[in-house]
């Protein structure tokens, strides 16, 4: 039996798919429909103190499209909840009572003083919620008021607030991190030091998605003006994966649970986050784009893949890719590959040729009859041809066998690992034994 039940810092859910704090989780109606659709948990749309904030009354979202208006990136200028605190608390309580097996975590953002946190935490605890997530990530609007990413960008504040919260509540405290910083490990370490039970990341990336060239206003445009928003969706997944991996392999935060967020759209994205050390995942844009039903594909896809791999629980593969994330200097320079073009699969578009000839290493020959062949003497194995080829598996990277000679360098391919740390060109190399 493949079991995908999840236990994240003691919060149990039937699967590792939570809805991230955002419009999908901003009221009882949505959350109950999400639970009916199968979501394992939610992080309630961020609560603040009354009087509640207001949102713009013009468009909140900007977008980046791929082919056929496929949404690749979404940008928003929405703030935290715009409903009274008590309304949210009442609904959270009702939902948790009706759905005891699902995770209900409440996202919070209040001014950076202990009194405010001490005020709100007991109110949340009273709802029966499973935990809180501190929103230190929102990059717009709230940050200008000294909250959100204004806190998240200062590790000392993160540590301080996490500590206040841990002292004020028995609930697990998750700190949500902003990616709008230079090194994600610092805020993660701060959260850890402050006693947080976990971190979640990423929040949105500060962005302007487009400019209207007629009105010269950034989009989304509010009466001719725009303001930077937060970017999310498939486009930010690589950024998020890297940040998750950085924290997962940082000795100072070893073992700190991570809730992975950012561009998760299918089961595969989720599996990648889990493999890179996340304990569960949170989803926003995919649900906002396609509706709650996408969770069915995520659940079934994850189970199906785990079955084929023989994994019976999430723990079987969680974090398994972390040891394979390393620094560039440790990559094996003796791993020599060459591009190989399968002539039967080739449809003769010539994209590999244009790419290699114009921007790489002039390592593809175009021969009579539009036959494209790799010139091993020139190929540096950069992978660009593989990446631009429209036919899957038509161009592959093949490793040169040990003992053969790389015609580009004239050097024999050796078995042993050899990396930059010992390379003769490295002035700071460590002497070979």
């Amino acid at each position: 039996m493949t079991d995908i039940r999840n236990d994240f810092v003691g919060i149990k859910s039937p699967n590792p798919f939570w809805l991230a704090s955002a419009p999908p989780t901003d009221k009882q109606y949505n959350v109950e429909r999400a639970f009916k659709a199968g979501w394992g948990g939610v992080v309630w749309k961020t609560l603040g103190l009354d009087p509640h904030i207001v949102n713009v009354n013009g468009p909140r979202y900007g977008v980046v499209y791929g082919a056929d208006r496929r949404l690749l990136g979404l940008n928003n200028i929405e703030l935290i909840t715009d409903r009274p605190l008590q309304t949210n608390l009442d609904e959270i309580k009702a939902v948790k009572r009706a759905w005891p097996d699902r995770a209900v975590v409440v996202s919070l953002m209040v001014p950076c003083d202990e009194e405010s946190w001490n005020y709100i935490l007991p109110l949340v605890e009273e709802t029966g919620a499973d935990g809180v997530e501190l929103n230190f990530g929102c990059p717009h609007g709230m940050s200008e008021r000294g909250m959100g990413s204004a806190v998240g960008q200062v590790p000392d504040y993160i540590e301080m607030v996490a500590r206040w919260c841990k002292a004020a509540t028995r609930m697990p405290v998750i700190v949500k991190l902003t990616p709008n910083i230079t090194d994600i490990r610092y805020p993660a370490r701060a959260a850890h030091k402050g006693g947080a039970d976990a971190v979640s990341l990423i929040n949105t990336v500060s962005s302007i998605t487009s400019v209207n060239l007629d009105t010269m206003s950034p989009e989304p445009s509010i009466d001719g003006k725009g303001s930077h928003g937060g970017y999310c969706g498939p486009a930010v997944k690589p950024i998020a994966l890297n940040m998750v991996a950085e924290i997962a392999r940082d000795p100072e935060t070893a073992g700190l649970p991570i809730s992975g967020i950012g561009g998760i759209t299918t089961w595969r994205d989720a599996a990648e986050f889990l493999a890179l050390g996340a304990g569960n995942v949170q989803v926003c844009t995919a649900a906002m784009t396609y509706g709650f039903r996408v969770v069915t594909e995520m659940i079934e896809g994850l189970k199906g893949w785990m079955e084929t791999k023989g994994y019976s629980s999430l723990a079987d593969f969680q974090g398994r890719a972390v040891p394979n994330v390393t620094d560039w200097q440790y990559l094996n320079l003796n791993y020599v590959t060459k591009a190989r073009i399968d002539q039967d699969a080739c449809i003769k578009c010539g994209r590999c040729f244009a790419a290699c000839e114009d921007t790489s290493h002039q390592a593809i020959a175009m021969k009579e009859g539009r036959v494209f062949e790799v010139i091993d003497e020139e190929c540096v194995a950069c992978n660009l041809c593989v990446n631009v080829c429209p036919v899957e598996n038509c161009i592959t990277m093949e490793r040169l066998p040990v003992g053969s000679v790389d015609p580009r360098t004239g050097r024999e391919v050796v078995e042993e690992h050899g990396d930059w740390t010992t390379h003769p060109n490295n002035p700071a190399r460590v002497a070979a034994e």
Binding site: D68, R69, I347, K348, C349, G350, R351, M366, R370, P390
Partner: protein, 444 residues
């Protein structure tokens, strides 16, 4: 309606006006903007793209499709028109399945090419819907060129000459310009008067004077215009038709397919166009397909294409054959007409079975009779009344690869000249290239 369809002999109004209007509507409806973006996104922007090589006018196809992708259909149209000023008509009538789209790598990859023709139409329609003309003429050079024949070859030649600042007088024997664009192309390929609209738009560059009702060999002579003008281009097409040598070829109801189509194309009201109850078309090319399909669309009860060789030898592409079949046209292969029977008017056609013998086609002796109130002959056109003083080769005006004839001041291109397939796009390429050659000669 069924009564009208089965009315014997040849009759007009077999179908009501609404049915006819829908039958003769656009064969491939235009893309809307979103469909165009989706279709454009399928283009791989190939290196040295095979589609460009396959296009007789060498339009930079990947570039114009990329311009559509990037939200610049007008820029895309300019790219098209720079190579092919009749890109609008070509987008509608080119047999793309044997040209650009056949060469598309996605045809090789998945049997589904990028729909280049329809994308080209999207781009050109967008630009042509705007007022004005996309190209402007430089200062006149003072050189005068006569272009005879206002079909695709003549129009492409005239436009390119005007673009170089030369003054063009464009003569045509018919009352309207456009050549087979106006009189020959199937009605459902270029509906809503597109041929004349395109001609007017093309003339928008200025410097071209169209003189209709002026036939070479009648109102004008080559000798005279060659003397009056600095250069002459002949794009007179193939005005003659091959005749049927069979008994009864003179009976009422037996006629030339091109003429039948011309009558249909010029009709103000399709309910007045007569068509037989049982129609037989003799031939195996595009004209045969067009005559057959349009007969069916006019309401003929049965339409049969009778071709003297096997299917594989047909000049019409498989796509065209399937188009005809999908309209209910029947095919008979390896049969040739021996006689048309009837009292004054055709009633039946007698076909003899054929086989490929050592010395060509021979009849087997077996025959078959099909009901036929109307017989369209589509066994090829030929050059009629080629002017004196030019060398002919296989019945066409002999030209070199720049379109130069044996006469130093005369160029020729399109169907009337040697080289290339008899297609609209080939005529455009030849007219354009001859104009460049003329321009070089006049500038030298």
């Amino acid at each position: 309606m069924s009564q009208a369809t089965t009315r014997p002999g040849i009759a007009a109004g077999r179908l009501d006006a609404a049915t006819l209007a829908s039958n003769f509507a656009d064969l491939h409806p235009p893309y809307d903007a979103h469909e165009a973006l989706v279709a454009a996104d399928r283009c791989y922007f190939c290196h040295d793209a095979p589609c460009v090589t396959a296009c007789p006018t060498s339009i930079d196809i990947p570039m114009f499709i990329r311009q559509i992708q990037a939200g610049q259909p007008e820029g895309a149209a300019r790219t098209i028109f720079e190579a092919n000023i009749l890109g609008g008509m070509c987008a509608r009538v080119c047999p793309t399945e044997t040209l650009c789209e056949e060469a598309c790598v996605r045809e090789a990859a998945e049997g589904k090419p990028v729909e280049i023709g329809r994308l080209q139409r999207y781009a050109t329609d967008t630009l042509m819907a705007r007022p004005g003309h996309p190209f402007s003429r430089p200062e006149p050079t003072g050189k005068l060129v006569a272009v005879v024949g206002a079909g695709p070859a003549g129009l492409a030649c005239a436009h390119r000459l005007a673009l170089h600042g030369h003054d063009v007088t464009l003569y045509d024997a018919r009352p309207k310009g456009g050549g087979l664009n106006e009189y020959g192309i199937a009605a459902y390929k270029a509906p809503n008067g597109f041929a004349q609209a395109e001609l007017d738009w093309l003339m928008g560059i200025g410097g071209i004077r169209l003189r209709t009702g002026m036939a070479l060999g009648r109102e004008i002579s080559l000798e005279k215009i060659a003397a009056e003008f600095d250069a002459v281009f002949l794009g007179i097409g193939l005005a003659g038709v091959n005749a049927l040598s069979a008994d009864g070829a003179a009976l009422d109801g037996v006629g030339d397919a091109v003429e039948f189509i011309a009558g249909l194309r010029q009709a103000e009201d399709l309910t007045t166009v007569p068509v037989g109850r049982n129609v037989v078309v003799i031939g195996g090319g595009m004209t045969a397909i067009d005559a057959a399909v349009q007969s069916k669309l006019l309401g003929a009860e049965t339409v049969t294409i009778a071709y003297r060789r096997g299917r594989d030898r047909m000049a019409a592409s498989r796509y065209e054959q399937d188009l005809a079949a999908s309209h209910g046209v029947a095919f008979r292969f390896n049969v040739q007409p021996v006689a048309v029977h009837g009292e004054g008017a055709a009633r039946e056609i007698e076909l003899a079975y054929t086989e490929e013998g050592r010395d060509g086609l021979v009849t087997t002796g077996e025959t078959v009779r099909l009901p036929a109130d109307e017989v369209h002959i589509a066994i090829g056109q030929k050059l009629d009344g080629a002017p004196e003083g030019l060398t002919l080769y296989h019945g066409k005006i002999a030209v070199d690869d720049e379109g130069r004839t044996a006469h130093p001041k005369v160029w020729a291109g399109g169907d009337c000249a040697t080289g290339g397939d008899d297609l609209t796009v080939t005529a455009v390429a030849e007219g354009r290239d001859a104009a460049e050659s003329i321009h070089r000669a006049l500038s030298g």
